[in-house]
């Protein structure tokens, strides 16, 4: 294992400390609960937004804390859901009279921690509501996961509710908005290589020199199939097809929703790097997907090319489409200030 790190146990705390030091005055780190928060939160005139999930997906979510995005993120260790009391205590620290919104990627561990925390917080009189993100179309069948997984699309949910919260939206309005964004999101990922959690010291899976994992999850969980390496265009075509023809299962039944993207639609298009893939390759994929969508009469309203939700140093990428309307366009382009920035 070759990493820039000191003690594997301090991997997450030292990273968090680094974020705090890099953002004096705007970001605060609360070591007891792995909490990275806005230094000026909670704001009594604004719903506080909190996200958990495991670490190792940076910039998701500790680096998207800030004005117009999250008020706090309290991840667990690398690829582990946060223990419930991180969520409880973080939510109490960030409690606002307007309530707390939890955003949860639909992974069993994350769900359970947040659901338990909500019950605890309810008992203590803290008002909490939750949005679940499940944008990953790769694993259609809920046998191996309970519902679909939440992946890079969560960025759009956070951006939208973050902007709306800043503008004063109520907790119920944010829940509605979050559900709306989630219902318009579809993602799929693929891996060229595995990745190595610091405490484990060994890759969580390995691929042959000519193999890829199509539909990989953000912790390296298996996707649809292990396939032969193909050209960027072929890989992107397969993923795009999966996204465009996707029919989301209707919860509790055998039925499925209709595909959501149609000719004439406008979309936000994200090509997300998984951590080890250079941005040059992401733009090669972007160019092709852009042209394929335009061919189908789907207009790219805005591009998002870079790292949004990663799996440590895994090489690979995911494609996310979010169908936009005037409301979402405004929210997606509203100002926001987070640690992850260029200037």
């Amino acid at each position: 294992m070759k990493k820039l790190m000191n003690d594997p146990k301090q991997f997450v705390p030292e990273m968090m400390k680094g974020i705090e030091l890099a953002n004096p005055g705007t970001i605060k780190y609360v070591p007891e609960y792995n909490l990275v928060m806005r230094a000026d939160a909670p704001n009594p005139n604004k719903v506080s937004i909190v996200q958990g999930s495991g670490s190792g997906h940076e910039p998701a979510h500790i680096m998207v804390v800030g004005k117009g995005m999250l008020d706090g993120a309290c991840p667990g260790d690398v690829f582990s859901a946060p223990p419930m009391d991180y969520v409880v205590e973080s939510s109490k620290i960030l409690n606002s009279p307007k309530g707390i919104l939890h955003i949860v990627n639909n992974y069993s561990g994350d769900r359970m921690s947040f659901e338990m925390a909500t019950e605890m917080l309810d008992m203590e009189g803290v008002t909490v509501k939750t949005i679940f993100v499940d944008d990953d179309v790769a694993v259609q069948n809920s046998t191996w996961t309970v519902g679909r997984r939440g992946v890079a699309g969560n960025f759009f949910v956070i951006k939208a509710v973050g902007a709306a919260a800043e503008a004063g939206a109520s907790l119920d309005e944010l829940v509605e908005l979050g559900k709306k964004v989630n219902s318009r999101l579809r993602s799929m990922g693929m891996a060229l290589t595995g990745c190595t959690p610091p405490a484990k010291g060994k890759p969580i899976f390995t691929l042959e020199e000519d193999e890829i994992e199509m539909g990989v999850g953000i912790h390296g969980e298996p996707g649809r199939a292990r396939k032969k390496l193909a050209s960027a265009n072929e890989i992107a075509d397969e993923m795009l097809e999966a996204i465009l023809t996707d029919r989301k299962p209707i919860p509790g039944g055998d039925d499925r929703e209709e595909p959501i993207f149609h000719e004439g639609d406008e979309v936000a298009l994200m090509i997300n790097g998984l951590g080890g893939t250079p941005i040059s390759e992401l733009y090669i994929v972007y160019g092709h997907v852009h042209e394929e969508l335009e061919k189908r009469g789907i207009k790219i309203w805005r591009s998002y090319v870079g790292e949004y939700c990663t799996s440590l140093e895994m090489a690979g990428m995911s494609i996310t489409l979010c169908k936009v309307d005037d409301q979402l366009k405004e929210l997606f382009t509203a100002p926001a200030e987070i640690p992850i920035r260029v200037f």
Partner: protein
């Protein structure tokens, strides 16, 4: 139950904790066959923390006590085990309310509440090859024997036998929940770590019932 309900509740929890701590590596090993091997350690971590804070717990009623147990187990134990086990204790605690003494019917109701909570939390049910496949049939058996006039000891013995039987019944199945499920067919013909834990705990409670109820 001749001793105070609170004292009995305490000793039942203590027995469960002892089992979790004594079998830390055995359970981990079982989970390692097709799961990720963290089960025994997670469970032990939770109960170790419980033991650390044992003397300081709020004991105003059995229900309150169980809720505190839940909070300690779930705190700092991420993932499935913290949540499933914590939910079990919490729901049982809620069902007990602030009653000081609990009847057999109360206990059945508490176990059923725990069962419902764990099912909901885990989005799981019998048939998924989880500890619920041990826990639920065992509670069924406990209820059946008690309702048909058996003693607590008889009911506990029957439940323990059932829990152990179930570990064999589900062994050939494919796991549908937890990390073991990721391995698909490879999970066939392996023991489920969670239901083995339930069996050992049920057996230990049954075997120590004389001391638990009447120390």
């Amino acid at each position: 139950m001749s001793d105070s309900t609170l004292a009995v509740t305490e000793r039942v929890v203590r027995t469960i904790a002892d089992v979790a701590l004594e079998n830390e590596f055995y359970f981990a090993e079982l989970d390692g066959v097709v799961g990720d091997g963290d089960f025994g350690l997670s469970l032990a971590n939770g109960f170790r923390k419980l033991m650390d804070e044992w003397d300081t717990l709020d004991r105003s009623s059995p229900g309150t006590f169980l809720k505190k147990v839940s909070m300690i187990i779930t705190s700092r134990v991420g993932g499935v085990s913290g949540a499933i086990w914590g939910t079990g204790f919490m729901r049982a605690g809620f069902a007990a309310g602030d009653k000081a003494e609990l009847t057999a019917d109360d206990v059945i109701a508490m176990l059923r509440a725990a069962e419902e909570g764990m099912k909901k939390r885990g989005q799981s049910d019998v048939g998924d090859k989880t500890l619920l496949d041990g826990f639920i049939p065992a509670v069924d058996e406990l209820e059946r024997v008690l309702k048909s006039g058996g003693s607590t000891q008889e009911a506990l013995d029957a439940a323990a036998v059932k829990a152990r039987e179930q570990t064999e019944v589900i062994k050939p199945w494919i796991a549908k929940r937890g990390r073991a499920a990721y391995t698909g067919e490879r999970s066939m013909d392996t023991y489920d770590a969670g239901s083995i834990a339930v069996a050992v705990m049920a057996e230990t409670i049954a075997a120590s019932w004389p001391e638990i109820s009447n120390p």
